[in-house]
Amino acid sequence: MLRLAPALIITLLVLPVGAGLVMVMLPAFGYLPVLGGHEASLAPWQALFAQPGLARSVAVSFASGLVSTAMALMMVVLFLAASRGTWLDRGIRRLVSPLLAIPHAAIAFGFAFLIAPSGLVARLLSPSLTGWERPPDALIVNDPWGLSLIAGLALKEMPFLLLMSLAALPQLQVDKRLMLARSLGYSPTLAWLKTVLPSLYPLIRLPVYAVIAYATSVVDMALILGPTLPPTLSVSILSWFNDPDITRRFMASAAAVLQLGVTLAALLCWWLLEQLTRLLTRNWLTNGSRQRGEIALRMVGRSALLLSSMTALAALVGLGLFSLAGFWRFPELLPQMLTLDHWQRSAPMLVKPLLNTALIGLASTALATALVLATLENEHRQHLQPKRALWLLYLPLIVPQIAFLFGLIVAAESLGIRPQLGLVIAGHLLFVLPYVYLSLAEAYRRLDPRWLQVASSLGVSRNAAFWRVRLPLLLAPLLTAFAVGLAISIGQYLPTQLLGAGRVTTVTTEAVALASGNNRRLIGVWALVQAGLPLIGFMLALALPRLLGAKRRALAT
């Protein structure tokens, strides 16, 4: 059974992505009999390249993905380098992991309201400092360069990269390295950058790639924060797939293939940058510079992460204010009156989506966790090196959703698989599983093998040792992985909507549908509900090991 786990995982992930890609590839090259496309042609590509602003769309998608990832990574690295385990550092760390739980759309809405000309920041300064009685006519949100999109993405990617780094760090014996480097006269931040970072980066490289792939093809954040004339490629693709003129489907399919190319090109570009950085820093690592830049790096490291965490929190506060707001006009900082109306009117509609969300999230995460555990346990028992083929696990993270989901529906329909809860759960599994694997694999492999040897030598079978020794010892990372999986599942929009044909409603599908009505107060309510669910998951993940291990000191950290 166990031996089948890796093959099963790969089949479960690769088949749907592959089938989806094929069903998008065909129309991209003119084959779609239902619309009269019977033979191969390049017409869809010609139509695509004739679209006004296509080059700009591509450029913005490409650049916003790379720049936001670089910013988020830099913030995380500098923070870790500057962090000294003070209460402030610990506080920031605690703050960050729940931020991971907040869905992209919720952050984007909150952030947009923060920085818009009529947003919270402008209200805070007006009219006292600015003299503005009306919001200034300034293009901040939806700026043509995608700067607000980049900022929003960086805000959301930072917690993920930090969490992944924190998971990888313990195996690097950071304290010993730092002690050694400092005894050689290196200042702490530089010591970290020169002795820890070079070993840390290879361990978080895959998560970084996942982030780039996500950021180059994101739809929801780009809709809210991204440029509009033209929009990012992903947003254009979605509107072409949904265009009333259904012959646009050919061009939309070609664009989906192009999106895959853009994402792969961004990954390739990042890889080249990696090589370049390695070359350029080779000398710096050993040039003996021990102090230079210490203070500046430390300041930047702490303030950047603190600032971005505070921004994310302020965005949530803005959403909260709106969900309670009565009439609220610029430049009033607070609403004229607070009301529970919006919550009360939404409450009856919340029940079913909440139940569905919880069911889908728990089922897909539980399945994913079981499969990942089976794969890792198999790897351990067979003394296998992590399989190269497991790279395929990350396929659903690397291939943009928008590039294969539309094809996947056709594939599923062709097999007679109708939209339903089970299909949605299977669809979520595609995206949840890689993240659970990312969050769990390191901790699993790192667990001292002697624990299980002791258990065996005490006469306990391998299966029993798995349940009685390994799982309890891995409780904390297991719960974190579970919480990450839940958060990922709860945030899924396109897979839920497309695979469920809209019949399976979750808080996210409801939130997106309502968001199209642009009622900020309702968006506030739904975004908070959407953020609240995974937040509960994270709180539990943090609290459970403490509760269970209250008497066991070594487990509670």
Partner: protein, 406 residues
């Protein structure tokens, strides 16, 4: 079942086979009693834009009534874009799913209807056979059987009426502009305080058509397929107008609001002073829900504004056509139409010919006192008809070509 698929897929497929309804012959709408019987116990998946809580609330009410009166379960599938439902039906057809589709009823009109008709994605004709259809008095009210100049031919059933309605804050502005040229002059005096949704948004495209109709003096060519007209010549006044207008729009026309409802949010933020909606009661509703100040007033341009009827249609592969027809018929009942028109529910105007109804039914439509932000009762008398749907696509493409990259 092919036995070489992996276990999960096979399991799901088998479950689905067991759940799938046997492909039955389509119900004949002429035999209404049979339709009612077949509908009993069905679940109708009604795909309708879900961005408006008031519409959603009304659909919830409809679902309750359908359950109680006809034993039909109505599930509202909330869409953020009607096009996604069209895409869904197309994907099902592409995959060869001709009798077990996932959509039973779509809220639709205009381009989407034209596209679905053209690709044989709709079931029908059924609408004219619905018992309540007669109440629309279609002979006298051709708009209920015409969708963007196309005859509906019974493939969609009328549901409600929309018309472009402008609104402004009377505390900040005394006399709002009454036609397109006045709008331009006003925008030049008040830069950054007006905009329209980014094309290809539905409301934004409607604004283009409104402007084109007025600026071209209701050119006859607009009501024929665009291929038959000299597009450049007909639209020339529109582009000249927009070239002049854009620099004075919100954000100097470098970006546009992403949707009709977004105009309302921008009004609420004080970024815009003048906005418009496709739903005449929108402003009054927004005032009630704290989004707009009480000083907001609605009005219609002097030369009239573009209006249309919105419909419901049944996809060709719906497995619950009987239930869908019973629902479409219920939507046309005086009871449902009156409830829809009430400002406390939705405020969407009726497609029935109210004066032809019997006294009891007419009484249902009596409204209480009008909301001060609402339009005066007679304001909507001057409705401009929609151009041929091909104009919308052509206008959108031309707009994107000119203004799509800034």
């Amino acid at each position: 079942m092919a036995n070489n698929r992996n276990g999960l897929v096979a399991t799901i497929s088998i479950t689905m086979l067991a759940l799938a309804l046997p492909a039955a012959a389509d119900p004949a709408p002429s035999n209404w009693q049979a339709v009612l019987e077949e509908a009993e116990g069905q679940t109708v998946y009604w795909n309708a834009w879900g961005g408006d809580t008031r519409t959603n609330r009304y659909i919830d009410w409809v679902a309750e009534q359908m359950q109680a009166q006809y034993d039909v379960d109505v599930a509202h599938v909330k869409l953020d874009d009607t096009g996604s439902a069209v895409a869904r039906v197309l994907a099902e057809k592409q995959a060869g799913n001709h009798d077990d589709g996932s959509i039973d009823l779509i809220w639709i009109n205009g381009e989407n209807f034209a596209a679905m008709r053209e690709n044989d994605l709709l079931f029908g004709p059924f609408a004219n056979a619905l018992p309540n259809f007669a109440l629309t008095n279609a002979d006298e009210n051709p708009e209920v059987v015409t969708d963007f100049t196309l005859p509906t031919e019974g493939y969609e059933s009328p549901w409600g009426k929309a018309q472009i309605t402008f609104y402004y804050d009377s505390a900040q502005m005394e006399t709002p502009p009454q036609d397109m040229q006045a709008l331009l002059a006003w925008a030049q005096d008040n830069p950054g305080q007006f905009s329209y949704p980014r094309i290809p948004d539905f409301t934004g495209s409607t604004f283009l058509k409104q402007a084109l109709i007025e600026l071209s003096d209701q050119d006859e060519a607009l009501y024929q397929p665009v291929e038959d007209a000299d597009f450049e010549a007909v639209t020339e006044p529109l582009w000249t107008y927009l070239d002049a207008l854009h620099p004075h729009l919100w954000r100097s026309g470098r970006t546009f609001p992403d949707s009709g409802p977004n105009l309302r949010t921008l009004m609420s933020d004080g970024e815009l002073s003048l906005a418009f909606s496709f739903y005449p009661t929108d402003a009054a509703v927004a005032v009630k829900e704290y989004e707009l100040p009480e000083s907001v007033r609605s009005y219609v341009l002097e030369g009239g504004t573009l209006g249309n009827v919105h419909f419901v249609a049944i996809p060709y592969n719906s497995p619950h056509k009987a239930g869908a027809m019973v629902l479409a018929n219920f939507l046309l009942s005086p009871e449902a139409q009156a409830e829809k028109q009430s400002l406390t529910m939705w405020g969407d105007r009726s497609v029935l010919d109210i004066e032809q109804l019997d006294a009891d039914a007419q009484a249902l439509f009596e409204q209480g006192e009008r909301h001060p932000s609402e339009l005066p009762a007679d304001a909507l008398s001057n409705t401009l008809p929609e151009p041929h749907p091909s104009w919308m696509t052509a206008l959108q493409d031309a707009w994107l070509e000119r203004y799509g990259v800034n």
